[in-house]
């Protein structure tokens, strides 16, 4: 049973789970650090428990302290939110071993999908396309050239021990591969002490498209896709549902592949399968699965009318899926803008501070998920996401117009945010045409976002 839910997270997602729990008459207890005592989630929850000092390693990532807190408050279930321990198999296992319900899939599934190589292998077994590449490390040039014939050019030479974009070279043809391979191997040896390299197809203009699923064992349904191509430093900035890039045939194939993968691993709860989508060939390739609720889940909620967090809780307490695939419809268009406490004019420098004045946008089709309130002092220790502005309307064009209207209503004084960046993005002609890929936003920013002047609130008032 799930009667007393411990929410081990902070910020807007902790508040989001508190709200879902309240609607299901589940007693909510927010586990928080010393820095988050004044948070809105703590205030709104039925109870709260401190799990340690400000630094996440001593609180939100401290499994022993969390389990002790769960015992102290007599919790019978744990919701991990996103980030922190949400995809830690060790945490999920510890929660289960303590006799509590973990709101998420089985620890073995988290483990399997959290390991890059195992996840790729699992996707292949489930019949989901993966980015074409060498099955194992290539040892010499002859082997590399043979593999390259199958994979196709351009391709990436990736250090097996690399990560986060390091140790990657591009070869556009066989001649370049001959030159680059020895260099990549030498570089990998000196950087990582391991000269093994893999080859992988390089998709120059890729979109990031992901599919939301809900699953109970052998049965899963999809709740359509989200497109999250607008990213900066691999962090999503703006998301929408559905994707403007898919036709009905491709959309159906994509969503079906996600369902197949979820069913193949006996998935429980809400999950997301992420893909790269090649605009030119209309091929999609599995990248990874996130075995938790995602930041951008509200756009899916807006177009499907399904409350994903509430469904997660229902599934965790043993209920069966309440929808068949036929009952899930995608109506209208939704976008989400992540408002971060960062200054886009100063290379996104973090901008913590106190909220001096706050007026949220409202009216038709506007949803705010945020833990901000006037007087709130934002701690400098955690992620810079302070609000999500979610806009729904009947079509993409009107959703973008409405997003602009909502951003014009939004007033936040006390620190800088990325709201101005979004105000310009929603009017950008290429964004309007959805002519974007995962490199679009960084090119757009280099093209001089910060050089153009954006009027401040006081200037706008002075002008009117």
């Amino acid at each position: 049973m799930v009667r007393r839910l411990l929410i081990v997270n902070r910020g807007e997602i902790a508040l989001r789970v508190v709200r879902a729990a309240r609607e299901l008459s589940i007693f909510s207890i927010v586990a928080h650090s010393e820095a988050d005592t004044e948070s809105l989630a703590v205030q709104q929850a039925d109870a709260a428990v401190c799990i340690g000092p400000a630094q996440a390693t001593k609180s939100y990532l401290n499994i022993a302290a969390i389990l002790q807190a769960a015992k102290d408050v007599d919790a019978d279930a744990v919701h991990p939110g996103y980030g922190f321990l949400s995809e830690s198999p060790a945490f999920a296992r510890a929660v289960k071993d303590a006799g509590l319900v973990f709101v998420g899939p089985d620890p073995s599934v988290i483990e399997r999908m959290g390991d890059k190589a195992m996840a790729r292998q699992t996707a292949i077994e489930a019949g989901v396309p993966v980015v074409p590449g060498s099955h194992s490390a290539v040892s010499d040039l002859d082997e590399a050239l043979a593999v390259a014939e199958d994979v196709g050019y351009p391709l990436l030479i990736k250090a097996a021990a690399g990560g986060g974009g390091r140790g990657i070279r591009v070869a556009k043809n066989a001649e370049m591969l001959r030159e680059e391979l020895p260099m990549a191997q030498a570089e990998a040896r000196s950087a990582f002490g391991d000269d093994r390299v893999y080859l992988e197809r390089f998709i120059e203009r890729a979109r990031h498209i992901e599919v939301q699923i809900l699953g109970v064992g052998k049965t899963a349904i999809h709740l359509y896709e989200r497109e999250c191509s607008l990213q900066r430093r691999r962090q999503k900035v703006f998301e929408e549902c559905p994707s403007p890039a898919l036709n009905e045939i491709v959309r159906d194939a994509l969503c079906q592949s996600a369902v197949a993968l979820a069913e193949y691993v006996d998935y429980l709860g809400a999950g997301t399968i992420e893909y790269l989508f090649d605009d030119i060939t209309e091929e999609f390739f599995f990248i990874e699965m996130n075995t938790r609720i995602q930041v951008e889940h509200p756009v899916t909620e807006a177009v499907t009318g399904v409350d994903l967090v509430r469904e997660m809780l229902r599934l965790a307490r043993g209920e069966s899926l309440r929808f068949t695939q036929k009952e899930i419809a995608c109506r209208g268009w939704a976008v989400e803008m992540r408002i971060n406490a960062e200054d886009p004019e100063r290379d996104f420098f973090p901008s913590p501070g106190q909220v001096k004045r706050l007026i949220w946008p409202a009216g038709p089709g506007v949803r705010i998920d945020s833990g901000l309130y006037e007087g709130y002092r934002m701690p400098p220790f955690y992620d810079s996401l302070v609000a999500k502005l979610i806009i729904w309307d009947e079509c993409r064009e009107s959703a973008l117009n409405r997003a602009g209207r909502a951003l014009d209503e939004f007033i936040l004084e006390g620190f800088e945010t990325t709201a101005n960046l979004h105000r310009r993005l929603v009017d950008d002609p290429e964004v309007r045409q959805a002519a974007v890929d995962t490199g679009f936003l960084e090119r757009w920013l280099e093209g001089g976002f910060s050089s153009s002047h954006v009027p401040t609130v006081s200037e706008k008032e002075a002008a009117s």
């Binding site: 400000a54 630094q55 913590p352 400098p380």
Partner: protein, 81 residues
Amino acid sequence: MSQQTVNAPFPGVFYRRPAPDKPAFVNEGQKVEAGTVIGLIEVMKQFFELKTETAGTIMAFQVEDETVVEAGESLATLEVM
């Protein structure tokens, strides 16, 4: 000779080493050049290097590794030649 303090330019968590398993950037008593990295400050999951403005000798650190610091807080004293 005069003493200078190195202050935190913004609030965050101060680290004396590049990674938990790495040695400290500098030790007390060590001579440094202008622009030597003496620590990191983490604010909202971004890391920024803290550098000395002038050459000198690091006399003492006022705060331990992994300490929560406020903007303007004194982190180290530097004896300038």
